[in-house]
Subunit: 177 residues, 3 copies
């Protein structure tokens, strides 16, 4: 992993790339949960693709992806208490490109049911995990930072497409056996 | 993002800062779920503030924040199986200061209900997500490492205060459109 | 934390170690949820131990740990929509060794119950959090990258063993008070 024949500058650059990419992924839930179209417009490439699978509507182009955050449906979800929750992503950096593999939970408050009390933490009906999806982010370095060329999400439901995304994070290990 | 006119030392220092901050955030759930007052006392500044909003009691000063982890209420929550679960935080580093934006789930085991069996993973009543909160951590570098000057949490419930915290992570992008 | 008397090479190496370790932890959920025995075989040492506590069967040796991912039980869990979800891990790096402390959720789709609709996010029965466990990863640097010597997991259920794992992340602070 640690290329000993890289220059110091290359090594530091790769580290900074990794940290910038963590922030790019960490910025996604705040943008989705506030409907921040300006964020989506800035971080997707002009021809960027958001592929949500066959069951939900995706979008193509940074402006269209941004616009979808302002749709009545998405705004209603935000008003209901939408929360995107991302785990630790796996980053495979390859020069000016990177593949990020991550899990995401989409949470919403229960609208009915009995509240539960937890000492020192109030009373709450709690949240349900509405969706768990795997994400494949295909990133490219540009003059204005790392950008998303394609984001693909698939629900974890026992079917193959989600596992296909996950295997993308393990590619380097396939060869090592 | 990558300031090309910074010295090597400045760049490496900024990277080390980022990694130290990740650990600071990652140390919070273990401290909350074990009632480790010594951790809270060490990582908050003397005049640090923990603002939990109007519905739950916060505290001011590292000693008071630490003491709250020893309160009977908090100890009862721990005895019941409390789990704080943090997602990937967004870090905006600015010299000797940093703003971290993160999501946090507060989980507790169900005390009633039917157990569910998952093959190779035992039988369990499972956990409920009691609270989902957004966090804004205002950090400062000190002679003894990065410390918390103010931590603000707000529940994700469709209301504005949580979104205000989240938008803090997107500030750099507001300007770029 | 930042040893000022370390060489530049040592500092950069430590940073690269940290990032490699993040990826090692981030690779675990994809391997568990696809049954990628080749990943487990590659990242555990030959005598590596996976200790799941007294209630679930662990394994010793990278080959045995890998094989358990191919067991009928684990394969059935995957077919049912298993999702491992990891929070931000805490990394305590000490030269050629590291202790990582992390939380993990084990999720599965509800097989019964009423679907809930979230605007713009479809209809779903949702997921239950089957288990929440704390993890202690004892890592060592090898000629072929960072490897797992021992992984210990304990359920968060209010009992002591899980808190013992969590306190491992706070060791440096115990001394500072």
């Amino acid at each position: 992993m640690v290329g000993e024949n890289r220059t110091l500058e290359q090594r530091i650059r790769a580290i900074e790339d990794r940290l910038e990419i963590y922030n790019l992924i960490a910025g996604h839930p705040p943008s989705a949960d506030t409907g921040a179209d300006y964020y989506a417009e800035a971080v997707y490439t002009e021809d960027g693709v958001f592929d949500r699978g066959s069951d939900l509507s995706g979008a193509t182009g940074n402006k269209a992806i941004a616009a979808s955050l302002k749709s009545p449906g998405h705004q209603a979800a935000i008003a209901g208490g939408l929360a995107h929750f991302t785990g630790l992503p796996h980053i495979a950096l390859d020069g000016d490109k990177a593949i990020v593999t991550s899990y995401l939970q989409i949470l919403a408050p229960y609208k009915s049911g009995e509240p539960i009390e937890v000492p020192n933490h109030g009373s709450s009906r709690g949240y349900h995990i509405h969706r768990v999806v795997t994400n494949r982010w295909e990133l490219a370095r540009t003059d204005t930072g790392w950008k998303i060329k394609r984001r693909t999400i698939r629900p974890v439901d026992g079917s193959e497409p989600s596992r296909e995304i996950l295997r993308g994070a393990l590619k380097a290990y396939e060869k090592s056996v």
